[in-house]
C-alpha cells in the first residue's frame, strides 16, 4: 500500500509540474509582447523594460519558462502589476482569509452532513429520508452562486433584513466580523454538504444491513450503542474520501462565493487580477488553486486507499 501511496504522490508532483506548464503557456506564451499588452498606455520605455525583465520576455520560451519556474519554486513570484507589491506579500493575507472561510465551512459542514446522512439512513424510506434525499438532490444541482444569491435575497435584501449582503469589514482579522461571515460560510456549507449527506446515508444503509450490525443487535446491545459504537464508525470510513474531495472542491468553489460576497480572499484577488490583467497574480493564483486541489485530492486518494479494503488490495 505504501508503494501505491508513493506512486500517487509522485504522480501528483508530475501533474503539478504539468499544470505549471499549462499556466505558463496560457498566460505568458501568447503571441505578441506580453509586457506591452499588460502595460498598455502606461508603457513608458522604463516601465516596459522593467516588466520585460520581470517576465523575461526577451529570452527564448524555454528559458522564460525555466526562469519563471525557478522563481515560483523559490517563492519569488514577482511583483503584482497592479500594486507593485511582491505577489507573495500581497496574497498572504488573502490566502489566510480564504483558508479561514474554508475551514469554518468544513468544520460546520462535515459533522452536520454526517449526522444528517446517518439520521436519514436510520429513518430509511420514511418521510424524513425522502425529504433529505430530495433536498440534497436539489442543492447538489444548484450552482453555488445561485445558492448564494437566493440566501442573499432571503436573509439580507429581499425578505428578512437580518444579515449583511456583502463582506465589508474594516481593519483586523476576518473572524472579528462573525455576522458578515454567516452568508458566505452558509453558502459553502450548502454547496459541499449534499454529497457528504448522500454518501453517508448510503454507507450507513449498507453498514446497518451488514451481518456485523445484525449480530450486535442480536447480542442485545442497546440500539444507541449499536449505532454509535458499531454502525457510525464503520460508515465514516468510506465517506472520508468524499469529504476530502469536497474540501478539494472548496479551493475552486470559493472564487464565485468570494466574488459574490466581496470576501477578501484568493477568489476575489483572482477576479481583481483578471480585471487588471495582473499576470503574475493570475499565474500565482491559478497555480496555487490547482496545487491545493491536487494536494487535497491526493489526500482523498490516500484516505480512500486506507479506508477501502477492496481498493487496498486491488492492484492498479
Amino acid at each position: 500500500m505504501y508503494r501505491l501511496i508513493f506512486k500517487r504522490v509522485l504522480l501528483g508532483l508530475v501533474i503539478l509540474w504539468a499544470v505549471s506548464v499549462v499556466v505558463f503557456l496560457a498566460t505568458q506564451a501568447l503571441p505578441g509582447d506580453a509586457a506591452r499588452a499588460i502595460l498598455g498606455r502606461d508603457a513608458t520605455p522604463e516601465r516596459l523594460a522593467a516588466l520585460q525583465a520581470q517576465l523575461h520576455t526577451g529570452d527564448p520560451m524555454l528559458v522564460q519558462y525555466g526562469k519563471w519556474l525557478a522563481g515560483t519554486l523559490t517563492f519569488d513570484l514577482g511583483a503584482s502589476l497592479a500594486n507593485g507589491l511582491p505577489v507573495g506579500q500581497y496574497l498572504a493575507p488573502r490566502v489566510s482569509n480564504s483558508l479561514v472561510l474554508m475551514m469554518i465551512a468544513a468544520v460546520i459542514a462535515t459533522p452536520v452532513a454526517l449526522a444528517v446522512g446517518a439520521w436519514s439512513a436510520l429513518r430509511r424510506d420514511r418521510a424524513v429520508d425522502h425529504a433529505t434525499s430530495l433536498i440534497t438532490l436539489v442543492l447538489a444541482a444548484l450552482p453555488e452562486f445561485v445558492v448564494g444569491i437566493i440566501l442573499v435575497l432571503i436573509f439580507a435584501t429581499g425578505w428578512l433584513h437580518v444579515l449583511p449582503a456583502v463582506f465589508a469589514a474594516g481593519e483586523g482579522a476576518v473572524w472579528q466580523y462573525p455576522a458578515q461571515l454567516v452568508l458566505p460560510t452558509l453558502t459553502l456549507v450548502l454547496a459541499v454538504s449534499p454529497y457528504i449527506v448522500r454518501m453517508m446515508r448510503a454507507a450507513m444503509v449498507e453498514v446497518l444491513e451488514s451481518e456485523y450490525v445484525q449480530q450486535a443487535r442480536l447480542k442485545g446491545l442497546p440500539e444507541r450503542t449499536v449505532i454509535w459504537r458499531h454502525a457510525v464508525p464503520n460508515a465514516i470510513g468510506p465517506v472520508a474520501q468524499v469529504i476530502a474531495l469536497q474540501l478539494a472542491w472548496l479551493a475552486g468553489g470559493v472564487v464565485v462565493i468570494e466574488f459574490l460576497f466581496r470576501y477578501p480572499g484568493i477568489g476575489l484577488a483572482l477576479m481583481d487580477a483578471i480585471g487588471n490583467r495582473d499576470l503574475p497574480v493570475i499565474q500565482a493564483l491559478s497555480l496555487l488553486i490547482a496545487g491545493l486541489y491536487i494536494v487535497v485530492n491526493l489526500l482523498a486518494d490516500i484516505i480512500g486507499l486506507a479506508a477501502n479494503p477492496k481498493v487496498r488490495t486491488a492492484a492498479r
Partner: protein, 299 residues
C-alpha cells in the same frame, strides 16, 4: 462543481442491442416520480427559453421606464439597470445559456466518450497518455480553468464553449473507460474480435451501445454542470457581453440594485435553479433506473 457524482454510478451493461436497451432505460426512468418531476421542470424552463422570445411584450433592448423601476402596468417585473423590461429580457435570455451549455456538453461528453472507449479498449500506452493528460486537466477546478483562459484570451463564446467542454472531457472519459473495461471482458466482444471485426467497428457497434446507460447519466450530469458553469461565468462578467439578454449577465448587471429591484435578479436566478434541478432529477432517475435494469438483468 464537484467531482463526486451525485448519482450512483450505473454498473456497465450486459450484452444488449443499443436501441432496445436505451428504450428500456428511459421507460424505467420514467416510472420514477423524480424523473417525471425533472422532466416537467426542464420542459418548463426550456419552454420559457425557446418560446420566450415570441411571447416577450417588448424588445429586450428597448427602454420602457426609468432604470430599476418597480413593477407597473405592462411591466410586471419592473425594469433593469437601463430601464429595459425585465420580463422581456428574461424571456429572451434563456436561449444563450441553454445553447452554450448544450454545445459544451456535446463537446465534452462526445470527446470524453470517444476517448474513454478507445482508452478502455486499447489500453496500454494510449490509455496511459489519455488518462494522465486527463489528470492534468482535472487538476484545475472547472471554473478556475475557464477563468484562466477567458481572462487571457478574452470572453469569446467559442472559447467559453471550448473550455467548459474540455473540462468535461477527462471526467466523462474516466467514467466511460471504467464502463468499457468491464464490457471488454465479455464474451461477445471476444467473439467479435475472433471473427476479425475491425476495431473501430467493435468500439462503435459493440462497446458504445453497452456503455450507453453510463453515458446517459454522464450526459445529464455534465449538462447540469455546464448550465451552472455557463451561467456562473456570465455572472462573473466573462460570459455573454452587453447588450445581449442573458440570464447570467442579467444577474451580474442588476446585482447592485437587488435591494431596490429584486426581480431583475430573482427571475434569472430562479430559472437557472429550476433548470439545473430539473436536469439533475432526470439524471438521478436515469441512474437509478439503470441500476434497477442491471440488477434485473443479472438476477
Amino acid at each position: 462543481m464537484t467531482e463526486t457524482a451525485t448519482v450512483p454510478t450505473p454498473a456497465p451493461g450486459t450484452p444488449a442491442t443499443g436501441a432496445g436497451r436505451r428504450e428500456g432505460l428511459l421507460r424505467a426512468a420514467l416510472r420514477l416520480r423524480r424523473t417525471r418531476a425533472g422532466l416537467v421542470l426542464t420542459a418548463l424552463v426550456l419552454g420559457v427559453a425557446l418560446l420566450g422570445p415570441l411571447l416577450a411584450p417588448h424588445s429586450p433592448t428597448e427602454f420602457v421606464a426609468a432604470p430599476f423601476s418597480g413593477p407597473a402596468d405592462g411591466m410586471p417585473f419592473g425594469s433593469d439597470q437601463l430601464g429595459r423590461d425585465v420580463l422581456s429580457r428574461f424571456l429572451h435570455g434563456g436561449l444563450t445559456v441553454l445553447g452554450l451549455a448544450a454545445a459544451a456538453t456535446a463537446i465534452g461528453v462526445g470527446f470524453g466518450a470517444l476517448l474513454g472507449v478507445v482508452a478502455g479498449y486499447r489500453r496500454g500506452v494510449l490509455d496511459e497518455i489519455v488518462m494522465r493528460t486527463g489528470d492534468v486537466v482535472l487538476a484545475f477546478p472547472q471554473l478556475v480553468a475557464a477563468l484562466l483562459f477567458l481572462s487571457i484570451i478574452g470572453p469569446k463564446l467559442w472559447l467559453l464553449v471550448l473550455v467548459v467542454g474540455v473540462s468535461h472531457v477527462p471526467r466523462t472519459a474516466r467514467v466511460v473507460r471504467e464502463a468499457t473495461l468491464k464490457v471488454v471482458e465479455q464474451d461477445f466482444v471476444k467473439a467479435a474480435e475472433a471473427i476479425g471485426v475491425r476495431r473501430a467497428k467493435i468500439m462503435a457497434g459493440e462497446l458504445l451501445p453497452n456503455v450507453s446507460s453510463a453515458l446517459a447519466v454522464e450526459l445529464g450530469l455534465r449538462l447540469t454542470y455546464s448550465i451552472g458553469l455557463v451561467a456562473g461565468l456570465g455572472f462573473l462578467g466573462l460570459g455573454l457581453q452587453p447588450p445581449t439578454a442573458d440570464w447570467g449577465l442579467m444577474i451580474n448587471e442588476n446585482r447592485i440594485a437587488v435591494t431596490v429591484q429584486a426581480w431583475a435578479v430573482a427571475l434569472p436566478v430562479s430559472a437557472v435553479a429550476l433548470l439545473t434541478v430539473g436536469t439533475n432529477l432526470i439524471t438521478d432517475g436515469l441512474a437509478r433506473a439503470s441500476i434497477g435494469i442491471d440488477r434485473g438483468v443479472r438476477s
